[in-house]
Amino acid sequence: MVAPRASLGSVQHVREALQGAGYLADEGLATAVFLALSLKRPLLLEGEAGVGKTELAKVLATVRGSELIRLQCYEGIDASQAVYDWDYSRQLLHLRAAEASGEAAGKATEKLENELYDERFLIRRALLRAIEPRNGVAPVLLIDEIDRADDEFEAYLLEVLSDFQITVPEVGTFRATEVPLVVLTSNRTRDVHDALKRRCLYHWVEHPGFEREVDIVRLRVPQVHERLARQVAGAVERLRSLHLYKPPGVAETIDWATALGTLGVTQLDEAVVRSTLGTVLKYREDHERVTEHGFADLIKHAFERGALNG
């Protein structure tokens, strides 16, 4: 593991540390991460699906040598699934055991009740675990696809992210000794509330440019030859310009390159593209559109891009 903190003292260091863990960030993203770390503020990432928002959180956990706690949001998520819950069956068992051994009769009811709300019956969900980590090291908390959760949950989250403390009425208040690094992601299926946005630093993650995408492929799929990496990035660049229903993201580019590497392909041709296109495009209409557009042009573009200083 990389030594935490020491390596993240400037924008440049953040960039290098991320790269060392296999993530190429541009200057904007590296600055946003650096600021989130130094200001101890949550970072809200928005962008198209597949540009590496979730991946960033995972890599940050590796870089800091800390645990990644992921909270996947969905409609209807509530405090008992995100913050804490009581282990009811164990509480009930405890009560029965006390009854059976005759303890219950001897003890004051109040004392027995207090025992029921002991911390050992508390089930810690993602948010509570992030605030009070087991090993004492501040974790990376990934709150994924916040736009899928309801507004009510967002309001609750706002409270947690402002004070980094959670109150469990029966036990007391948990307060983070060290503020966790929080990364929120959103696909923008609806607007996240302004109040929550104000708490966060914000970055819109773009599709990478051609050269950076080549670098990403080479970093993530090292078994693929540079020429093929350039051709794949070139073909993807052309695909993104075709007005597809779902333009391929970086994740798809990496999948495609991996697939080609596995097949032992050294350069693109029509047959190869045709048989592997399913790793990049996931809609029937998109396949039709590419067929209509013609594979020849796609491959020509890929070769032109691939040839440049390659």
Partner: protein, 376 residues
Amino acid sequence: MTAERMAVAFGRVLRGAGLRVPLDSVVTFVQCLDAVGITDRNRVYWAAHTAMVRRPEDREAFNVAFAVFWDRISAGEDPHHIAEETVSLAADTDDAEGDDSTERSDDSVSLRFSAMETLSKKDFATYSDSELAEAQRLMQRLRFVGSPRRSLRLRHSRSRRAQVDVRRTVRSSFAHLGEPVRRQWRAPSERMRRLVVLLDVSGSMEPYARAFLRFMHAALVGRQRVEAFTLGTRLTRITRELSHRDPDKALARTSQQVADWSGGTRIGECLRMFNDRWGVRGLARGAIVVMLSDGWDRGNPEVLGDQMQRLSRVAHRVVWVNPLKVTPGYAPLARGMAAALPHVDAFVEGHSLEALERIAAVIHDEGGRVAGVIHA
């Protein structure tokens, strides 16, 4: 120059450029500047971007504002001076709108009585400004509920058909030494479907667009989970601008935001953009989509047909409101309209208040009435 002076001044410049910049963003920017310094243009740019931009639509305006601001700071100008200039420009236009709105409200007073009767059948194209204001008041009574859908959120329930709520049952059992005397239940709750309204603001729709915009405002203010867009030569999201409670302010802000008012028509292209950026990605999923348009499209009608099909596949219902439908002998001859119709669940007229009331009913009611409306 200090970081504070720079941050405050730039915040004001951004506000002048139309961005929302709350005070805490400015404070954050100061903290960011402390972390990256104020001399390197790139660093300051990204620090400002991270702290003050909150949605991708604002990036263009931000870039322009930053470029101007930085150039003039580098030229040694006082940052507050730069801010003054830009802000005063924005303030002037605000005043002009204020005057306008007071005049309008004077007119409407005389019209209050029995306005419902006289206005309900009148074609929007023949409305005067004062009638429009009155119609707006009437529109605010419209309710757009729509069929709810099952939410994943479970709520406490008295019904025995529901599932056992272990949490509540066990909690209440503690009062009886762990004996679950009364079982507690919970069942999925219902939640309102999102309502997405798309307004065609092309030249041919001009007589109706101003009334429809008020209709959209009534929907936005009267109901949760509404999204509003305009289509013309480009797609503009106006949810935020139009959701201001005061109708005059809402309309003024919206018309500032919409650049292609009464321009050309490329509904197909705009709809594609809507589907790509918003609709298919989630906004229109399971939603009730209302399209306010006469169906005249100068683009390729195939595009409109394809995009309507895409939209109808993700939406719960698609309602097309066409103000021309009431014309005697109307047939959907506009090529775009003909291409879109197979993918529309309800095709209704929308030329008058009465017709708008019926739209509210169509949105509200799923059942048999819809079939009647389609061919009415």
